[in-house]
């Protein structure tokens, strides 16, 4: 209950800030631009033509759900990759601001346990990222559904995978914020985990390119611990594009992300419990 109160408070903080509302407006504008600029000609369940910003695209008459797959795939990739970086920058300040002098003393003096503060902040931010991702993906689904008559939730599922990816990255950001109390360090580690996680997804391909012996072992050891962001990104785009995805592969990846987030959060709580303010 306290965890939810802290998460809800974080949402109130977020929505009271102008720049967070700007994010909502930006996502809405993006959807509006898509809705107004994307013209599609659907004839008897087939996509006869499509114009983006007035320029016609050469598309052979295809079943509309098949023709839309690349668009859904592109949408999923946008939500998964650039949007995650945007979220890292946007949410880096939350945990350090929680630890600001004058605020943390007040919070800790209340009947709140330290782990509840860490978990509440974490869940609040991950919830916010899920909200924006679902808003963007859901809006895209509705717009394309209205224009073409094909309503699919696959981009929404891809957005949820993007949230899982961000949840793993944000756990590392929280841990750094707890130890260093710095938004810049938190964002820096978030970006580092993001790019290292992209590399980790291709670790088996990249490993042979590294000198044998210690360097390769070190690369494999480090990337073995990291969440495989590009692997999950590939699954998300495949899923949005209507391709078959192995449930076991997906479950394994998601479990890996959750294990990473859980372990790093445990370190964050451990550090927080021992810290004086």
């Amino acid at each position: 209950m306290t965890v939810l109160s802290i998460a809800a408070d974080l949402w109130r903080h977020a929505f009271a800030r102008k720049w967070f509302l700007v994010l909502g407006v930006a996502v809405t504008l993006f959807l509006v631009v898509i809705a107004l600029s994307l013209r599609m000609d659907v004839v008897d369940g087939a996509l006869a033509g499509m114009r983006l910003f007035g320029r016609p695209k050469t598309i052979e008459i295809t079943a509309v759900d098949v023709a839309l797959r690349p668009i859904f795939k592109a949408g999923a990739i946008v939500i998964y990759y650039p949007f995650t970086i945007f979220l890292i920058a946007l949410c880096a300040e939350f945990a350090p601001s929680l630890l600001a002098p004058g605020r943390i003393e007040h919070l800790l003096s209340m009947p709140v346990r330290r782990w509840e503060l860490v978990l509440g902040t974490y869940l609040g931010v991950v919830g916010l990222s899920a909200l924006f991702a679902l808003y963007g993906a859901g809006g895209l689904c509705l717009i394309l559904g209205a224009k073409t008559g094909v309503l699919t939730l696959r981009p929404v599922l891809a957005a949820l995978l993007g949230t899982i990816s961000f949840a793993a990255i944000y756990s590392a950001m929280v841990a750094v914020a707890v130890l260093a109390r710095s938004a810049t360090s938190s964002a820096g580690v978030g970006i580092a985990v993001y790019f290292a996680g992209v590399l980790a997804g291709y670790r088996t391909t990249l490993a042979p390119m590294i000198s044998e012996g210690l360097p390769r072992h070190a690369f494999e050891a480090v990337t073995g611990l990291l969440p495989r962001i590009s692997s999950l990104g590939n699954v998300a785009s495949e899923m949005a594009g209507g391709q078959a995805v192995s449930a076991m592969h997906l479950a394994g990846l998601v479990m890996g992300f959750l294990a990473f987030a859980g372990a790093v959060l445990a370190v964050a709580v451990w550090g927080f419990e021992r810290k004086d303010f």
Binding site: T2, A8, A16, G102, R103, E105, H106, S109, M110, D276
Partner: protein, 312 residues
């Protein structure tokens, strides 16, 4: 004795990676505060006052010693739920209104945030007309009042206030003093940390002086301020200083001092003064103010250098 705060032999060191021995902020502090009293913790900057408060609230964990607050361990959230705390520099969310801030604090204190109750509280601290304004536009004194309102939420059994009147205008200070008096009358214990000695003197009945991480002196205000066996006597104009000196009175400005614990000795001296034609206007125990007490405690004793005795 029913104690609100019971601290025994606590030690706290702030260590860094470079300095593992660290800086000793509290060095074997032992302090007891009875329930229902106003206690003032005094001391110079860096003496350990804020660290002591943070130890009470588990914001800082001591290396050694025992801390009990309201009869329980402050690590227990149920104990902390009965404490209201105003930090020295409360960081308030600029985008919130007092209503949203106090609602948020209510939820974290496991209280149901009732609008009427919050408005009443804002009225008590003099912010009723600013309930809908953004906190970012508040003055320092207004923020301090709002922090006090947050501390008062849920009628706590113990109020821990770190510089509560900092930045508050003189009238506001009077209002806060009255508010604290009402809380004391309700049975609440007030633990006050203030640099303003006059403020502490007006609010607190018991005082502790901390210096270099140790409690240098503690007790009731009366005990601490009483000058041992000294009386201050005011005579009506016209009394002869020489005759008063002969009776045992020592001039101290417009008044006279009489040193002696024995009341009979004082009365004999007064009789002698009256016999010499002096008219007594006022007799009262010579009490020190907190500033003098602090000065006595904090000023190091002069080093006595023995010098050879010269005999004629």
């Amino acid at each position: 004795m029913d104690l609100a705060i019971e601290v025994h032999d606590i030690e706290k060191r702030y260590r860094t990676w470079r300095n593992r021995k660290g800086f000793c902020a509290l060095d074997g502090v032992t302090l007891e505060v009875p329930r229902g009293v106003a206690f003032g913790l005094l001391g110079p900057n860096g003496a350990g006052k804020t660290t002591f408060i943070k130890v009470l609230l588990t914001v800082v964990r001591p290396e050694r010693g025992r801390v009990r607050v309201l009869g329980g361990d402050p690590e227990d959230p149920r104990v902390r739920a009965r404490i209201g705390y105003l930090p020295e520099r409360l960081d308030l969310p600029a985008y919130f209104t007092p209503m949203t801030f106090l609602s948020s604090v209510s939820r974290l204190k496991h209280l149901i945030p009732a609008r009427d109750g919050i408005l009443r509280l804002l009225d008590r601290v003099g912010l009723a007309n600013d309930a809908g304004r953004k906190i970012g536009g508040f003055s320092k004194g207004m923020k301090q009042r709002l922090g006090l309102a947050a501390a008062l939420l849920g009628k706590p059994d113990l109020l821990v206030l770190d510089e509560p009147t900092d930045g508050v205008d003189p009238m506001g200070r009077v209002e806060i003093r009255n508010l604290l008096s009402l809380e004391l009358a309700r049975g609440c214990t007030v633990f006050l940390n203030s640099h303003l000695l006059a403020e502490t003197e007006r609010v607190c009945s018991r005082v502790g002086i901390i210096a270099s991480g140790r409690i240098a002196r503690q007790g009731s205000l009366d005990d601490l301020c009483r000058a041992e066996g000294r009386w201050r006597v005011a005579f009506a104009p016209g009394a002869s200083p020489d005759k008063l000196a002969a009776a045992g009175f020592q001039a101290a400005g417009k008044e006279f001092l009489f040193a002696g614990q024995d009341l009979m000795a004082l009365n004999r001296a007064l009789d002698a003064a009256r016999a010499a034609g002096a008219v007594i206007a006022e007799v009262y125990p010579d009490e020190k103010d907190l500033e003098q007490v602090m000065s006595e405690v904090l000023t190091p004793a002069p080093v006595v250098v023995s010098s050879p005795v010269v005999t004629p």
